[in-house]
Symmetry: C2
Subunit: 336 residues, 2 copies
DNA sequence: TTGTAGGCGTTATCAA
DNA sequence: TTGATAACGCCTACAA
């Protein structure tokens, strides 16, 4: 089958130790024998077996990625960020989709551990205690990417979700709005539901506006439900709306138009995530951008430091988010 | 560190061979000793080392994925389809982003080979000869997913891109249009540029309409250039437009409105790919859907058959595409 | 500078 | 039914 180090050794008439040395530049070898070895490698078409190597050196140069769903927005960019940095440091990536289900997560972590990955990057809105325990137990470096973790036991790279929605609502307040509605994520969603609603409340409270439960309608990040949510908010005569996702913001705008009102003339709308929907939609949608690629890249960079046992200056990185102002709050065309 | 099979053997007072037997159910073991071994496994917290196992049995239960860019549309869904089936058959997945660059592709294939993957699924618009050669040389099962391959040397799962755009244009013809413009992909793009333009030409020719080069303007799948392209087409008084991507279709619609015309009243537009932009945009956009998830799932299923050396009924699977009719061709609201 | 040999953690073939 | 033991392909003291 495939040539092994033995075949190369035989071909070059040296010991396998010598072949190994030229392969890894691990010790000085005469130019002449080195050349003989290189020739033999070429002749035999030898490719080192990473399995055998990893077994010996106890490192696989592989890391595992636990991701809810690579086909949902946000994660592809995070993963791309991770992979770019990983490849820069010669690491490969195992991709595991879990739909945030506990059994799938546990199962994959088990497998990754058996496959001897050097580290694991966990993604998901929130992380369960049981999963944390298991990740802890396998005893390899762990990094959380874009995940809320109250006790923050693990290194983490994220944005400040509460602050992000606070900023969005504060911007609406600065435009003079008093009656600001919100279309939130599911109430049990730690980020889109809880954190973002908290930011909304905080901005209101800071502006001394009393919080009215009727102005917060729960959505599920999907268009249909957000459309209905917006109709409810219209009954309450809101003059601005903050939606916890761009898709919901777009649906809200559609509902507003269909009800005979106009954006941004009558009502202002802000979305979340800066998906390309937000700038392709007309009117273009003001939104909050999460630096997905950077979250991935920084997470992986952190991982490489952990793996190299380099000193870490900060185990909990908060990346800056950004309010991107567009037509839906009356700012006019995006320049882009 | 981690317990090995030896530790378990010692703990259970049996040989490692026996431990291996209960682990793999490879031979009959007394219930009593079996229980002793199981207890020992629990007590030591033993996890089998997949590396050592793979080295021995010459199988890793791992497959490599070559993908242009996981953060661009289409691929995340394909990859999700692959991973779902892979996990069903206990395979893990290495994800490799190549941006379709030859050196990256070659490099990753090399690494995947060294890591002893059992198979590789290649994704990309087209596949280079050099890459084909290399994939061929490493001698493991290969499947192409969503890739044009003239000689079709490898098993392949794809849609018929030419037929897809043929169908789109034919639909426009059926609506009575005579002057149909096209915003294509780059002219050197094998799918969006060449295949789709060919389908356009064929539909026209079948309807005995002479092909006019001035009615095909080259785009780059991005909004800005497509917007300009549409302005040119307007100078030529087209009454319908087929764009090789949804983003270009949306940009075209924007250009049409900005020029004082209306969609679908004055001009009909069709896009490509059924991205969520196509149904969130107003007017909603008629488009062609590529079954991304299925392309992935079927590819991986094909791979499992290849790996199991099962007989394959069809090495070249053409999956059905679908024309999704929406407002931009005057059909009215989508029901969804 | 080069070679010998043990071991990384398994599986699988022989014997016993 | 169970136990030694030789691979799998590589790295790395230790010798020479």
């Amino acid at each position: 089958m495939n040539a092994t180090i033995k075949d190369v050794a035989r071909e070059a008439k040296v010991s396998i130790a010598t072949v190994s040395r030229v392969l890894n530049n691990s010790a000085v070898v005469t130019d002449e024998t080195k050349q003989r070895v290189l020739d033999a490698i070429k002749k035999t078409g030898y490719k080192p077996n990473a399995l055998a190597r990893s077994l010996k050196i106890q490192k696989t140069h592989t890391i595992g990625l636990i991701v809810p769903d690579i086909s949902s927005p946000f994660y592809p960019e995070v993963v791309r960020g991770i992979e770019d940095i990983a490849s820069m440091y010669s690491y490969n990536i195992f991709l595991c989709n879990t739909d945030q289900k506990e059994d799938k997560e546990m199962n994959y972590i088990e497998i990754l551990s058996e496959k001897q990955v050097d580290g694991i990057i966990y993604m998901g809105d929130i992380i369960r205690e049981s999963v944390k325990q298991q990740l802890h137990d396998i005893g390899i470096p762990i990094v959380l990417a874009g995940t809320e973790d109250a006790e923050s036991e693990f290194p983490n790279v994220n944005i400040d979700n509460k602050k992000a929605s606070y900023d969005a609502v504060k911007y609406l307040l600065s435009l003079g709005h008093k009656k600001i509605g919100m279309i939130s994520g599911p109430s049990d969603d730690p980020i889109g539901g809880i954190q973002r609603t908290n930011g909304y409340k905080e901005a209101l409270s800071e502006a001394k506006i009393r919080f009215k439960p009727s102005l917060v309608v729960e959505g599920n990040f999907k268009a249909r439900q957000a459309y209905l949510a917006m109709l409810k908010l219209l009954e309450n005569n809101v003059d601005a709306v903050f939606a916890a996702s761009d898709e919901m913001a777009a649906a809200a705008i559609n509902a507003i138009f269909d009800s005979g009102f106009s954006v941004p003339e009558d009502i202002h709308v802000i979305g979340f995530d800066n998906t390309y929907l937000s700038y392709m939609f007309r009117p273009t949608i003001t939104t909050i951008q999460r630096p997905a690629y950077d979250i991935g890249a920084v997470s992986m960079r952190l991982m490489t430091k952990l793996l190299a046992k380099e000193p870490i200056d900060d185990m909990h990185v908060i990346l800056p988010h950004q309010l991107i102002v567009r037509e839906s709050t009356g700012y006019g065309e995006e320049k882009k």
